[in-house]
C-alpha cells in the first residue's frame, strides 16, 4: 500500500459542508474546533466559484512534525500523521508551520487559554488502545482499525472528496478526468511552474 491521501475535486465540490458535518459527528469534535472545512473562492461569481474541502493533508515531509518542540508527532506505516496529546504542550508552533491551517486548539480555560492541539487523524485514532474509550475521547474515531476509510470522504455526496490509498485515489481521479475531458490542469507541471504549454481540453468537453 502506498500512502493514505485526500484529494478534493474542485469541479465536483458543491460546498454542502457534508464532510465537515460527517467529521464533527464521527469524532465528536468539540465546539470551536473544525478538523475539516470547506474553502470557497470567487464566492457568488457565476462560473468562477470553486470550493475545496481542506483538512490535514498528512504531508510526506510534515512541517508540523519538524517544528514540534516536544516531538509529539509520528507517521504511521500508512503515511498518516498523528500526534500524542499527552505530550502536546499546546504551544501552537505547528499551527504557524502548517500551510493548510490544520492544527486546531480548543479553548482550555478562561482568557482564551489554549488547549492541546487537535487535528484530522484520517480517522485513525491515536496512540491509545485501538477502539478504546480513551482513544475516542482524545482523538476521535478509529475507522482504519475497523477497515474503513475517513467518514468525510465516504460520506461525500458528490464524491468530490476522495480519501484512501494515494494510488487508488489517483486512478479514480484520472478516470474521471478522461471521462469529462478536463481537470488534469489542476496539478502537474503547469500548476507548479506556470502554464505555457497547458494542453487544451478535449473537444466537446462539458464543464
Amino acid at each position: 500500500m502506498a500512502r493514505m491521501k485526500f484529494l478534493c475535486d474542485a469541479e465536483r465540490c458543491i460546498e454542502c459542508n457534508g464532510c465537515v458535518t460527517a467529521c464533527k459527528n464521527e469524532n465528536e469534535v468539540p465546539w470551536g474546533v473544525n478538523r475539516r472545512r470547506v474553502v470557497t473562492i470567487n464566492d457568488g461569481v457565476v462560473g468562477a466559484e470553486k470550493s475545496i474541502s481542506v483538512a490535514c493533508m498528512h504531508c510526506s515531509d510534515a512541517p508540523c512534525m519538524a517544528v514540534c518542540p516536544v516531538d509529539c508527532f509520528y507517521r504511521t506505516d500508512e503515511g498518516v500523521v498523528l500526534h500524542d496529546k499527552d505530550l502536546c504542550i499546546g504551544c501552537g508552533y505547528c499551527f504557524y508551520a502548517c500551510p493548510f491551517g490544520a492544527p486546531q486548539f480548543p479553548q482550555a480555560g478562561a482568557f482564551g487559554l489554549r488547549g492541546k492541539m487537535d487535528k484530522c487523524t484520517f480517522c485513525a485514532g491515536g496512540p491509545e488502545k485501538d477502539l478504546s474509550k480513551e482513544e475516542f475521547t482524545k482523538y476521535g474515531s478509529n475507522r482504519l482499525a475497523q477497515g474503513k476509510l475517513p467518514a468525510c470522504a465516504e460520506m461525500c455526496s458528490t464524491k468530490a472528496l476522495l480519501g484512501g490509498d494515494g494510488d487508488v485515489v489517483a486512478d479514480i481521479y484520472r478516470q474521471r478526468v478522461f471521462k469529462r475531458g478536463k481537470g488534469s490542469e489542476v496539478w502537474g507541471w503547469g500548476t507548479a511552474y506556470g502554464k505555457p504549454d497547458q494542453p487544451k481540453a478535449a473537444a466537446g468537453a462539458k464543464s
Binding site: D71, L82, D84, D130, A145, G147, K148, K159, G164
Partner: protein, 86 residues
C-alpha cells in the same frame, strides 16, 4: 633588546593573533537535527480483530496486513461511481 622593543613585538604579535582570529571560517547556517517521536507507541490497524468493531462489513484475519489492505482497497474503490454504475 630594549624593553620598549620587546613590548612592541609582543603587542604586534597579540594584535596579529587576535586579528587573524576573526578570519576563521565557521558554518553560518544551523543544521537542524530531525527530532524523534517521544510519545507512546501505536497499534497497527491490521492488528485489531475486525469482529471487535461494530457496524463494519470489512473482513480480514487479525494480524494480516495484506488482508486489511485488501479490505480497505475494496472500500476505496467504492468511491468510484463509474465502476458502480457499470
Amino acid at each position: 633588546m630594549t624593553a620598549t622593543r620587546r613590548l612592541l613585538i609582543t603587542g604586534a604579535a597579540l594584535i596579529f593573533a587576535f586579528g587573524l582570529g576573526a578570519c576563521g571560517e565557521r558554518d553560518q547556517v544551523t543544521v537542524y537535527k530531525q527530532g524523534k517521536y517521544q510519545g507512546k507507541p501505536d497499534t497497527k490497524p491490521w492488528e485489531n480483530d475486525p469482529a471487535a468493531a461494530i457496524y463494519t462489513t470489512s473482513k480480514w484475519d487479525k494480524g494480516s496486513k495484506t488482508g486489511w489492505e485488501s479490505a480497505v482497497k475494496t472500500r476505496n474503490l467504492a468511491q468510484n461511481e463509474y465502476t458502480r454504475a457499470e
